[in-house]
Symmetry: C2
Subunit: 194 residues, 2 copies
Amino acid sequence: MAVSEQTQMAVLGGLSIAPMTGYALREQIREALGHFWSESFGQIYPALSLLEQGGLIERQAALRAGSSTFTITPAGSIRLRELLAEAPQTAQPRNGLLLRLFFGRQLGADTCRRLVLDARARAEAELAEMQRIRTELPAEVAETAPDAPYILLTVLAGEHSARASIAWADEALQLLDNLSATPSSAPTRIEESR
Amino acid sequence: MAVSEQTQMAVLGGLSIAPMTGYALREQIREALGHFWSESFGQIYPALSLLEQGGLIERQAALRAGSSTFTITPAGSIRLRELLAEAPQTAQPRNGLLLRLFFGRQLGADTCRRLVLDARARAEAELAEMQRIRTELPAEVAETAPDAPYILLTVLAGEHSARASIAWADEALQLLDNLSATPSSAPTRIEESR
DNA sequence: ATGGGCATGTAAGTAGTTACATGATTTA
DNA sequence: TAAATCATGTAACTACTTACATGCCCAT
């Protein structure tokens, strides 16, 4: 127990692309899935033990003493497809930025502006990163080419999300400026966007 | 202990808009913050006890026996502003949909299309909901008018996010269609978007 | 009088992170 | 040979949810 199906899915998925050690798995998850997923060692190693016991992966002694390489078994591939086919469970959202802005009156327009600017900067960085990944995609996954179009979908999601954050931030900044200009009286009128 | 600052912030924030019972607080958080925040009773009641002990909120006996209304104290207002001013802590992302699409080859283009269509439908619903809230905003918060422009920021964020999801889904569906059309060979060429 | 919504609270369980302990191998 | 990196594993902690126990009060 104590290992969620989500984690099993990520571990089996990683090993479905290439056999590797637990340590490498964590690195790969960080690099390839980092912008929408994460796993810590405290999850990965128990998951590897469990999956090995279930015959879904196999452990081979690696060159390095004490370390081992894990390979997915045919049963593991079947299990992976099963897990992937389950409906994605969406955790309830917790957006600290929006929570702060909701109570923004307590915080003041200036501090809110700062928060939005920070968010905008993060989104810009995210967008640049996604575009970098997209240009490097064809080369990176040369041997895992059939996965490339699916990976592209996740990169595009990141791009759309980042662009939306930037557009929202710009609109929000303008509203906050109006708010500062008209200290308390007439609430600023909002024109329809798009 | 055992009550996170995040929860204290949400509880103090809720009570900063109006005094209410723990039960009402949960309802309000659900209705007003539901699309970007959530709190369960298991969080709210311990938080109320803690904040009361700290003198940040006060309990008054309500009309109904056994129930009590909580009011934020001046010290509570100060604490709220302190908490709001702290940098938003962003939990690491876990997007089950993108995880599935990343390993989409195992799942097949058809099942992926279904997943994307579901996501698109959810985004459409979200967009409609955000637009409904926006039109009702001026009326709803008549007495809490000064909060309205800040609340609007969070609604706009939801709209931008939903629109981005829809645009991404449409692009993804087209890519998946191409993928089905060209079974395995020539990976489809992606033209630059924007 | 009873079923449903209002109301409070707690215990148990789930999911996950962080920090630590340990040691091998590579690189500077 | 020392530091950095690779590698495995576990224990303690944090945050949060779910389920339950309890009871009030209103409408039918």
